[in-house]
Symmetry: C2
């Protein structure tokens, strides 16, 4: 049965919704696919539900083909398991929490690691039961601070989340690879170009993590890639560490008055004028050591100052710092912190003073000091002398100062060497479309998931977690497939295969359209039929362009001469066809 | 691709779950269909999800065939619309309420009248857009005081809820009828016998309401039906009101000491001995008037006493009283209430005293007084004289006392006359499987849903609401289709069409089973294949009986002689068939 516009729940809108920031949001609302109910919370109208169901079907088919079994967990879950993994606290304000009538704590699940782990613990007990991968397609909740961008970052959203369970690390590798392969097939079927990038896995206690990014200049994520095949998001990029340099023959550090050095360049100029290097090389901004004071707040609420030293030609990139210190929260230290630490001379902070070490757990201040990996032993630096209006020149790492460790805090730049030796990287932007993740044994340990192994001993299970945001994917496809007239769906996820328009006042056009609709349905195609009488062709064309079904058939004035038009929404091409030639033309397409 | 038990997420259990009260709950957990996550909250395992999907498909097909369009609303909704309809308060403790990070109030929707109404208001503006029926299949939340009975009454549950929108009452009748017809088709396809009973619609402000009940002695709902076709749930049953009787010639009331009348019978005996009727008829229990004091708590928290008078041979039935006074809460008055009302003499309460009226808004106490509809003018009663140890005999309704109205408070009994004149009713029990409901204009008025009518005037839309509990239906089907060995699914909703078992240690049996599985799949059937090696036939048989797929094929020892067994789960019949004759036998079935 075709869907007839005379009897369909649809109202297209000519105006963009006032709250919409991104194209997909604007068009999905205007074309009658979704409707906002609250910030980040949407209702699905019939057109939107059809597209969502098609994406879900593709995901489900590929999950099943990869040997995963479908289950379905509640959205409303008790607090206890999330307490055991600390996520009840770690999730912070992003977790929707509530109480039932008895005062018991519940949450709306943002992901279901705990539930899946406990279910397997509940039912399985032997290595013979594994490997196992189970998945669900389910509505999740995250109380985003600023829900925006429509479905790209909603507070209620549909996800496919899968979890694998293995006894051995090799088993996890195989399960991970099977999901990774399935993701490649899913995104290929969805027509979504992708790059698989290394992602940071450390904070979650896992061992390996990759993101599927769709490369696009309007993407919200930054990643780097080399011509030699390296790809990582900036949080996961690791700096190539130079070899250390022998200290022999390096001059002693020199403290110099530096009252008029408001910029790094003025400081460098002063260095080149006052403390020329014995080997004649100029000092550059890359030889200055910038010490940035950060305040960390741990999950238990405790606070700590940490100083991060990076070359002066680099910036401290907060996204990388946040990953490095996760799950602690990081913010630049405020004046209040400085007031509490008179040992730090603001504007002239450095690890060394003529009175001894200033930074580091063993120093006078006791403040933890972490360095960019480029600051290897034997490198010489210009930095603050920890005295007002004085800098020290030629301070040698490893000789004059030591740190408590290194940290990946600097920004990554075009031309930085890839850590795998595959050449210089370039910075690119993309949208996250999937995430595969080796959780390892973190959740199994927290929740006590063990099975008997081949030797009859209890072994903690190792897990993987694999996510695709179904509603986010839908928005990304809409974001990538549109023009000024409206949506342009790829065939695999279009709400209908063909949109048939009967135009004009001539009954013959409507009769021809009815015949074509019947033939199209006979051929197995899903048809949206605009059978609305008394509407101008222009209104019908505009609706068809806005809705974005890939193939449009127009039965209008030409019917008198036995022809209709076949209109390709993407290319805009229109060709005339005999009335009974539509199916054949589409078959040949 | 068949589902192989060597690689399927399933663990059957031999023991009933400790918290399970009903058969469906026990069997669905033991057979690996569902798993409890919290009180009234369940996870769906692969088998359960398959059955659920089949029920949903049948519901979806019939909704679509009835012209309804599918949409999908969020579970998490803002407070405001529910405030406008007063349901934020009316729902009481059964509503899950929460706040987002900004402190805004949200709820987990128990049903979506408000959302549907606002969506139509948002998009439609003309009578030409109507009639419209839209539906969703969606997870809902109700914080039941005592979640029990597994899926029969969960706190998270899946419902199909549909809503119709019309301009005229006739339109609503037609939309209502279309849904009612669709429900008949759905329950027929699901193999669920049903009775359509009148239900109470008053409290919700609606005009007409019917429930689909599955008649079964273990049902939790009571309904009445007559041989002549009347059917109603007890809450909706209305008493046939007798004609009034002329007062002429009725004797004056007589007050009698009645110290030793602990029961109604002793009171009746006293009456027959002390105050014989002039016409010689005996007094009976039906001539006594029992006055029951109830405490009402209104939604705004205000409290009120009300006295309900019913014939002494009837009981006050709280379910009927609750409907009559809804949305107020009703409870029997406690001693504390009596203490506050010294005008009421406990054990001897009556509407009349020698000093004047005792009950009624115009009386000395001012307490509202409502009567069973059988207490018509001219009927004579034995009741309390409102003096300790005294009753009054021959008190005539309408002459000696008046009430503030009538109330349907008495229990309904076998033999009571049906209100439509179709003869005496019998009491029966059933399980609610669906509910269709003419909401009328209540929600449209509260939320301002108006459209321009044919005359260009704004008209408030009239609505219907139509619900089927998908997960409840699944539990009911399980509750009705089982034996001591396990589940016995009807073919329409079974998780698989055929369950093939390979038994024994002979590879030939497994080879034959593989061939049969391939042929069954070729024929379009969904197959569960028990290919587990090294398991005794007994274990496999027990699992097959527990899981309850309707047709079971056993490839075992007989394979050597070229035969397998076809086992009908429901009848228990087993027949031998040639190995290549399974599909033909099932086709012929």
């Amino acid at each position: 049965m075709p869907t007839r516009l005379t009897n369909f729940f649809l109202r297209t809108l000519r105006e963009d919704p006032a709250d919409a920031e991104v194209t997909s949001h604007k068009l999905l609302v205007r074309a009658g696919y979704i409707r906002r109910q609250a910030p980040g919370i949407f209702a699905w109208l019939p057109l939107g539900l059809r597209v969502k169901a098609k994406i879900e079907r593709i995901v489900r088919e590929e999950m099943t083909a990869a040997g995963a079994h479908e289950v379905h967990f509640p959205a409303l879950l008790p607090r206890e398991p999330y307490e055991l993994t600390n996520r009840w606290t770690e999730y912070g304000d992003a977790l929707f929490r509530l109480q039932d009538r008895k005062g018991a704590d519940y949450l709306l699940a943002p992901t279901h690691e705990e539930s899946f782990t406990l279910l397997v613990k509940d039912l399985y007990s032997s290595y013979k039961d594994l490997p196992l991968t189970i998945f669900q397609i389910q509505d999740k909740y995250r109380d985003e601070a600023r829900p925006r961008a429509g479905l790209l970052r909603g507070r209620e959203f549909t996800m496919k989340d899968a979890y694998s369970f293995d006894v051995s690390d090799e088993g996890l590798d195989a399960s991970y690879q099977a999901q990774r392969d399935a993701y490649e097939r899913i995104f290929t079927r969805l027509g979504l170009e992708y790059v698989i990038v290394q992602a940071d896995a450390g904070a979650m206690g896992g061992s390996k993590s990759e993101e599927f990014l769709h490369p696009t200049p309007v993407g919200e994520d930054t990643f780097v890639r080399s011509a030699g095949g390296y790809a990582a998001n900036v949080e996961a990029f690791t700096t190539v560490v130079p070899d250390p340099i022998p200290f022999d023959g390096l001059p002693a550090p020199v403290v110099v008055d530096s009252p008029n050095t408001p910029t790094i360049q003025t400081l460098v100029d002063l260095a080149n004028a006052e403390v020329p290097r014995p080997d004649g090389r100029d000092w550059t901004a890359a030889d200055t050591l910038k010490n940035v004071v950060l305040a960390l707040t741990q999950l238990d609420g405790s606070r700590e100052l940490v100083v991060v030293g990076v070359p002066g030609d680099r910036e401290v990139e907060m996204k990388r710092v946040e990953v490095a210190f996760a799950p602690a929260e990081v913010e630049p230290a405020t004046e209040a912190y400085f007031a509490k630490h008179p040992g730090l001379v603001k504007g002239y902070i450095g690890p060394w003073s003529e009175d001894g070490p200033v930074l580091g757990e063993e120093s006078a201040t006791g403040i933890r000091y972490l360095l960019d990996p480029r600051v290897v032993d034997g490198t010489e630096w210009i930095t603050g002398a920890n005295v007002d209006q004085k800098h020290v020149f030629g301070l040698v790492a490893g000789r004059d100062f030591v740190a408590d460790g290194t940290v990946e805090a600097s920004d990554v730049r075009d031309g930085d060497p890839a850590p795998d030796g595959s050449g210089p990287v370039e910075i690119a932007r993309g949208m996250e479309i999937g995430h595969v993740f080796q959780l390892g044994r973190k959740y199994a340990e927290a929740l006590g998931l063990k099975v008997l192994d081949e030797n009859g001993k209890l072994a903690t299970v190792t897990m993987g977690s694999y996510g695709i945001g179904v509603t986010r994917i839908l928005a990304i496809i809409a974001e990538l497939n549109n023009d000024e007239k409206g949506l342009v769906w790829p065939a695999a996820v279009a709400p209908f295969d063909v949109h048939v328009l009967a135009t004009g006042k001539d009954q013959a056009a409507f009769d021809a359209a009815e015949r074509i609709v019947a033939e199209l349905e006979e051929s197995g195609r899903e048809v949206l039929y605009d059978d609305r009488p008394k509407l101008s062709p222009g209104v019908k064309f505009a609706d068809a362009e806005l809705i974005g079904v890939p193939k449009i058939v127009i039965a209008g004035r030409g019917v008198a001469e036995g022809v209709v038009e076949l209109w390709d929404r993407a290319s805009g091409d229109r060709v005339q066809l005999p009335i009974d030639g539509v199916v054949a033309a589409l078959d040949a397409d």
